[in-house]
């Protein structure tokens, strides 16, 4: 930019922009890394499923008296970890639904549905970490994440407090979708960063100017009071109509006192803050 301005100053004719215009501002753009949509940071899952107790029995045989008296070999056959994976998924699903359901028979309310989906999503996510090329699960997982997001959107519209409660209960984050989709390009990103940079400079300069003016306030008022007193005295001495009243001078003095008080308070606050950061 500066280079261009120099050229423009040197050549007083109309400045024509070159084809590939490049800004010489030192702005570094880093393209954000793409996060897969099935990853927890993208799907909004903050929590994880609790680790499986190694001695957890199959839910159907939990209360069996025969199993309690059986020998170790038989018992191990009824352990959850020695059984198909889908039974563990079901176990987690029921665990999560029980946390939020309205009554013991409720599996169809929005909370129960969301809990069910969340359990499955987290289960699938841990599966995808071990088997990253499992496309069938990947598709199901993505579809389920999208559906859960849609259901959260509905629940928010229907019943806001229940929506907040379920977010807290299932440990989810809800971010509304952006209004417009666009691909991330270098040009557009650099434009945005340049805008931010310019805004920052503008704010900084305004702030500096504000400070400068503030510093002038006290000397100005002191000077004004002196001059007002002098003018008043002269007018009285020379027997011309008096235009400066006592009230005006008093008002200016009050203003000055207020200002000084304010400045001292601000200075004390900053001193205290700097002391705290130093220690």
């Amino acid at each position: 930019m500066n280079k261009l301005l120099n050229i423009a100053h040197a050549v007083p004719r109309q400045f024509v922009r070159d084809y590939a215009f490049k800004s010489d501002l030192k702005i570094k753009w880093v393209r954000p890394e793409k996060i897969s949509c099935i990853k927890p940071e993208k799907s909004g899952d903050l929590g994880k499923l609790p680790p499986l107790n190694p001695n957890e029995l199959l839910p159907d045989y939990k209360d069996s008296k025969e199993l309690a008296n059986a020998n170790e070999t038989v018992k191990s056959m009824f352990l959850l970890r020695n059984n198909p994976n889908n039974l563990t998924t079901r176990y987690y699903r029921d665990l999560m639904i029980k946390e939020v359901q309205r009554h013991a028979q409720d599996y169809g309310s929005m909370e129960a549905k969301l809990a069910r989906m969340t359990a499955l999503i987290r289960r699938f996510q841990s599966h995808m970490e071990v088997h990253p090329r499992d496309k069938m699960i990947k598709v199901r997982l993505k579809e389920m994440i999208d559906k859960r997001k849609k259901f959260l959107k509905y629940l928010r519209r229907w019943d806001y407090r229940r929506f907040e409660w379920i977010l807290e209960k299932l440990d989810l984050v809800y971010k509304p979708p952006p209004t417009k989709f666009h691909w991330i390009t270098r040009k557009e990103s650099l434009q945005k960063l340049t805008d931010i940079y310019c805004e920052k400079i503008k704010d900084e300069r305004l702030e500096a100017y504000h400070k400068e003016l503030q510093e002038q306030q006290i000397p100005f008022l002191e000077d004004a009071i002196k001059k007002m007193i002098f003018i008043r005295q002269e007018q009285i001495d020379c027997d011309v109509p008096v235009t400066v009243t006592e009230e005006q001078i008093e008002e200016a003095r009050q203003q000055l006192a207020q200002l000084q008080e304010l400045r001292e308070a601000a200075a004390a606050a900053t001193r205290k803050q700097s002391d705290e950061t130093f220690h």
Binding site: R102, R157, W158, D159, R161, E164, E168, L172, K175, K192
Partner: protein, 155 residues
Amino acid sequence: MASRGLLLLGQCMPCIKQNASKIRVRRMELDTNLNMYFKKDTFFFAHDPEKVCKTGDVVLIRELPERLTRLITHKVEKVVYPLGDITDPISGKKVVVGKYREDIEMANQLFGKSEKAFDYDKAPPRGRLEGTKDFTHGETYIKYHEDGKDQPFAV
């Protein structure tokens, strides 16, 4: 023009301006070529220092006698329908989608309400998760730059 004190009904949108809310008034506009109506949004900034309206609320705004700033031309009169907390205007009961809340509650009682289930009496008012889990109070954007800082509204 401004002395009319015109009342408008609109929906509150996420807004970063302080002391103001962005209100969307949606009208239908006739396209004479197609002879069809299309949605047309007009945005107004309403003075709202206490932030009474939150994103999604349906609010009444009134035109100010003269504009407060370059943007703010209205003030928030009343929140008519808070989002997700609808009262049926005829019976005065709270509604969730197609059912009264008390009907749902009665069904839960009949089935034996669970201890852990959601309870309206215990639930705090809306807005406690803003900025931690619920990011609907601001506009989200597609992340375009990695600056090492946390960008809560980046998707």
